[in-house]
Symmetry: C2
Subunit: 174 residues, 2 copies
């Protein structure tokens, strides 16, 4: 039987070109719910979400990144924040945020959507927060740009397991 | 049609009690491959993996955490490291490591395995690295304990989306 979870993990790609059609609210909420079901240390769930559809808001956010066109094209932006008052250990909390973001990307893929995790915009994290009039305890961790993909032919590549395994007790090799 | 990716995201649980049976090497490598297919900034792929099966090594690692019994019970330990020489931005790299770890947990779940992400052991990160005789550029990020689950009846809980959404342009509520 096909393992559709592994298939999603291997076939998901960063999507940066979107069709103009809107994304159903139910799908947007499902993507957030998937993010919310990530594991976190002490189950502290430090993630907080924003849903940006408004064209003026998207335009303002687009000015804060070199990936302006991606932000303008995407029907939905999902800025993802960490609640600093919920944190207990920076490294572990940032890892949890990554688990949350990956769940969101896999969920989007599974729902027939395309998405890309934008990190470069963190150089303007404060400005993004201010555009959305959010309080100082929320620190931007990433923006996911999402929509129906206009192109899905991206390729990607990874190191081989032999390059990545630093210690191995198994007798049988990769 | 059932969305098996979302199902895995929602049904995965931390598994801390394991059956004694060994895990097939093919499944262990598949879990690592899933981790390796996480996204990372600049595709820098900072993750490095260890596979620990040896009883003496597991015993030594178990002494470094309050979750000693989980480590001893698990047929497989997967200590996951970051290669500090591959890093470019601490917060983003730690997020990528979290994406990698979440892929590994979802992959394990999809393969019928149980696993738990152990973070508390990071207080002894250097000691774990020394047990495996790994170089100083590898910093422990987490240990995944993995095997066939002896018990799978755990429950878990999450905040509601209404608690987690800080900004919302959608007209239609959750």
């Amino acid at each position: 039987m096909e393992n559709t979870v592994l298939k999603a993990i291997y076939e998901r790609r960063s999507v940066r070109h979107f069709a103009p059609q809107a994304v159903e609210p139910e799908k947007i909420y499902e993507v957030l719910k998937a993010g919310a079901w990530a594991p976190s240390g002490l189950n502290n769930q430090p993630w907080r979400f924003a849903i940006v559809i408004d064209e003026a808001k998207k335009k303002a956010v687009s000015e804060l990144t070199r990936y302006k066109q991606v932000v303008l094209d995407a029907p939905v932006l999902l800025p993802v924040f960490i609640d600093k008052t919920a944190m207990y250990h920076a490294t572990k909390d940032h890892q949890s945020m990554g688990a949350c973001l990956q769940n969101m990307l896999l969920a989007a893929h599974s729902l027939g959507l395309g998405a890309v995790w934008l990190g470069e915009i963190l150089k303007n994290a404060e400005a993004v927060r201010n555009i959305l009039a959010l309080p100082e305890n929320l620190e931007l961790m990433a923006v996911i740009a999402m929509g129906y993909a206009a192109k899905t032919n991206q390729t990607s590549n990874r190191k081989t397991l032999n390059e990545l395994i630093a210690y191995n007790d198994l007798q049988k090799g990769v």
